[in-house]
């Protein structure tokens, strides 16, 4: 019954969408009025990466909205993943990662962080920007979890500063926008700073500032998000789970098939 409903609805939707596709302007057409105007405006403001100019200058207000969605999503996740009263933290045992993997992780960690910063910093010049670079930098930090163990990551990543930096970055985006307003022009208008030399890091007025704010915001947001998930998956157990582990530790590995036993062995180690 439900499948029939899905089939009928899906067929109707498919027919409408295909009909819409046939009336769209042909793929690869030559008429892009908004695109051409956006490129012109970006060049007049000395921004080499037109896409960055659209994101952080011509449609900066839209990006403010996107940023608040991101902020709200992270806030919601943190609230949902917080530790409740019937749960407690169990110190995870350090996992023994083999030497080549550990060496690779420790070697690539700085390279990956640097790549993230490079991508953020060159946002107004070459492909990249705060959104992409922030994710790369935040992911890089978690090489510590993959290559070493969770405790090493926790030592290098006290969560409070990241939460504070997240809020700080979001507000600095707003403040940059308000500064333009105070200087006698519109909210988030790119009139505050000189446009600089085309195709250098110090070009495009306020675009690098907003770009850096977004980079910081995204990086901290991803770190906070992943911290919540890692806590839940690795550290936080509730009372029932703990009992099971305790019993497991006492009784040792008995019974169960191979996969089950392996998994239990692992969680038993963590439960101690």
């Amino acid at each position: 019954m439900r499948l029939w409903l899905v089939a009928v609805g899906g067929a109707g939707l498919a027919a409408l969408l295909v009909a819409a596709c046939l009336r769209l302007p042909g793929f690869g057409g030559d008429r892009h009025p908004y695109g051409d105007r956006a490129v012109e405006a970006a060049l007049s403001r000395h921004t080499a990466n037109t896409v960055s100019s659209v994101t952080f200058d011509q449609r900066a207000f839209d990006t403010l909205g996107e940023m608040s969605i991101l902020f709200a999503a992270v806030l919601g996740s943190v609230v949902l993943l917080r530790q409740t009263r019937d749960e407690h933290r169990a110190r995870p045992e350090p996992a023994a990662v083999s030497r080549p993997v550990r060496r690779y992780a420790l070697l690539v960690l700085p390279v990956a962080l640097l790549t993230g910063l490079y991508v953020i910093a060159h946002g107004q010049v070459s492909p990249g920007g705060g959104f992409q670079g922030g994710v790369v930098a935040a992911t890089a930090l978690h090489l510590l979890y993959l290559g070493a163990d969770y405790r090493a990551l926790e030592r290098l990543r006290p969560l409070a500063p990241y939460e504070a930096a997240d809020a700080l970055a979001a507000s600095s985006y707003l403040v940059t926008g308000l500064a333009a307003l105070l200087a006698g022009s519109a909210f988030l208008a790119n009139t505050l700073l000189p446009y600089g030399t085309f195709n250098t890091l110090a070009s495009a007025g306020t675009v690098p500032l907003l770009n850096a704010a977004i980079g910081m915001e995204v990086a901290c947001a991803v770190v906070v998000l992943l911290a919540g998930f890692l806590d839940q998956a690795v550290e936080i157990v509730d009372e029932g789970e703990h009992d099971e582990h305790a019993e497991h530790d006492g009784g040792g590995k008995t019974g169960g098939n191979a996969a089950d036993g392996g998994d239990h062995d692992d969680s038993g180690k963590r439960g101690k």
């Binding site: 596709c21 970006a42 990466n49």
Partner: protein
């Protein structure tokens, strides 16, 4: 050939979107459903970028080409898609956090079992 290639990208976007919707509707696992939703999201990026493409065009990034020397594709749709890729990932994370909560409360992530619990 050309008649087909002029609509093929849109049709692929439609196909990906419908496939994601089918997966969402028939999913037996909320985590799988979230994965299907991210497939639906991917369809919107394909559609947006297909609309902005120009034959023989190149990226509107002038760090290594002189402005005006080559035709460029539409930067506006790219800006829309690029912010949404990252923001969409955090929204996916929010949904996964909800799934974790559901698993905690009810001990299952099967939507059918969940509705039985409710009823």
């Amino acid at each position: 050939m050309t008649a087909l290639t002029h609509v093929l990208p849109y049709l692929v976007a439609v196909w990906v979107f419908l496939a994601g919707c089918y997966g969402l509707a028939t999913s037996r696992d909320l985590i799988h459903a979230v994965g299907c939703l991210s497939v639906c999201q991917a369809a919107t990026y394909v559609l947006l970028l297909a609309v902005g493409y120009r034959d023989g065009g190149t990226a509107p990034v002038f760090s290594d080409v002189t402005p005006g020397s080559r035709p460029v594709v539409d930067p506006v749709v790219q800006a829309l898609a690029l912010t949404d890729v990252v923001v969409g990932a955090t929204v996916t994370a929010l949904l996964l956090a909800l799934v974790v909560q559901v698993a905690k409360r009810h001990g299952t992530v099967d939507p059918d079992e969940l509705s039985e619990l409710r009823g």
